[in-house]
Amino acid sequence: MRSRIMDKIAMGILWANGFLTIAILAMIIGYVVVKGLPAMSLSFIFTSPHGIEQSGGIFPTIVASLYVTILTVIFTTPIAVGAAVYLSEYVKQGRLVTIIRFGADTLSGVPSIVLGLFGLALFVYILGFGWSMLSGALTLTLMALPILMRTTEDALKAVPNAWRQGSMGLGATKWQTIRRVILPAAMPRILTGVVLAVGRVFGETAVLMFTVGMAINLPIFPNEPGRAMTTHLYLLATEGISMKTAYGTALLLMVIILLFNLSARKIFNKTQR
């Protein structure tokens, strides 16, 4: 009898925990939606800010955020995938691999504001790229690299060894095996990793304030500065410029990241049989 009551209580607590998680998420999203929706309009998305940024849209910041993100993906993907293939397929598992993995894990634990400071020093000043899409993307690459490297490694590990043996048994070289069997088989998971990393990068703030700058500018070339959506949001709110626009920006930011995550899931499901 006692154990039954305990069971009920445990169930109740666990249910409450689950409910709380969902409730918090719903509250945040709901709050941002309610506060942000009044600002939302086509002209909000597709025009530039006017005056002292209180009116008008946020178009240049959307472009800047997407620009930096895409550039980051272009830099990160080949390096991360290459490193992961090397680590999990070529190198003998041992000391060196452990050190590299430890390094990657540590890198992904560096606070983004520290990374931003580093990017400011190295890319903006020392290498002279200035506040620019390029400086931002290079710094974000440092952030996204370990994330994508680890997800790619996991993706490669999930490929059955039987396929490696089958391929090698037919006289394929290691590289042929990787290129024709292992990578295609791991691709859905790798792509999912890319999209999740994109979500992280797109929502990043500190790094971009340091390296891309705050100028409202519609970037065309990678050496131009700009203002990311996250930076814009921060400035609108902290400078007391317009809370309405701030919430509108926040809502749009969330929607875009949600779209990234949904598409990641879609890619994964579609290619998973």
Binding site: W163, Q165, G166, M168, L170, G171, T173, V181, R273
Partner: protein
């Protein structure tokens, strides 16, 4: 010393004309000696079965015949393995070409996550064949040889992994045949499939032996008795001792009149 053994082995091979001749092979996993002193001649165009209890090194030995063990860190081979009189462990041997000549079928059918067609075309493609018409011919030929063509000819574009277990195993055999091997190594090819499919694979083996040298590792003694011409019995007296080749002869003799008491005990089911 090694040179002398080598010369002896080559001479013996010239006399026997065996497809594969193994002389005094020792195999190590790190410091552990898994196989000791294996000397055996694998006959051309015949089926040779390796039998023995679990952990007796028969699969390890099979995998040393196309150097698949190279893929495992810390393994080492001593002794001589001659394929058509050439040492496959010599420095100048192209392992990639060796594995093409000595194909392997695994315990678990392992078709790639590709279409049936692409599974077969995989081997020829990696060896540089681009011509679509030639690939088509090879795909049809290989599937026909593997007794699978009739069942799959209308669905070549479907994933190989959608086939039944037995069909998948025949697909893997066809995939190996597509690279034109000389020897087929089969590592318990029927242990994961049903009796009807096993029957089909055994029939297939019987057909293939006219053109190929086949070596099969099997746990199933009835299977060894049914399909093979020669049988080799491996045994490790204890789990920490290296396995040895106890007896090797024509299958009829091994099963009806074995020389070694241990062989008799094993095939009559007293252990294993």
């Amino acid at each position: 010393m090694a040179e002398a053994v080598h010369a002896d082995a080559i001479q013996a091979n010239m006399l026997s004309g065996d497809k594969i001749d193994v002389h005094d092979l020792d195999f190590y996993y790190g410091d552990f000696k898994a196989l000791e002193d294996v000397t055996v001649g694998i006959k051309r165009n015949a089926i040779t079965a390796f039998i023995g209890p679990s952990g007796c090194g028969k699969s390890t030995f099979l995998r040393s015949l196309n150097r698949m063990n190279d893929l495992i860190d810390g393994t080492r081979v001593e002794g001589t393995v001659l394929l058509d009189g050439k040492d496959i462990y010599a420095e100048d041997v192209d392992v990639v070409d060796l594995r093409r000549r000595v194909g392997m079928i695994f315990q678990q059918a392992n078709p790639f996550p590709l279409s049936i067609y692409e599974n077969i075309a995989y081997g020829p493609r990696i060896h540089g064949l681009r011509n679509k018409a030639e690939l088509d011919t090879i795909v049809e030929d290989s599937l026909t040889k593997a007794n699978l063509w009739k069942e799959v000819k209308d669905k070549l574009g479907q994933p190989g992994t959608d086939l039944s277990g037995g069909q998948q195993q025949r697909l893997c055999i066809a995939r190996v045949l597509a690279v034109n091997p000389e020897v087929l190594l089969m590592d318990e090819p029927c242990s994961a499939i049903d009796p009807t499919s096993t029957q089909k694979i055994e029939d297939l083996m019987d057909k293939l032996k006219d053109n190929f040298t086949i070596v099969i590792v099997t746990h199933n003694m009835q299977q060894a008795a049914r399909v093979s011409d020669y049988t080799a019995f491996f045994l490790a007296e204890d789990t920490n001792l290296p396995a040895k080749l106890i007896e090797y002869d024509m299958t009829d003799i091994v099963f009806t009149n074995p020389t070694d008491k241990r062989t008799e005990n094993y095939i009559t089911g007293r252990f294993g």
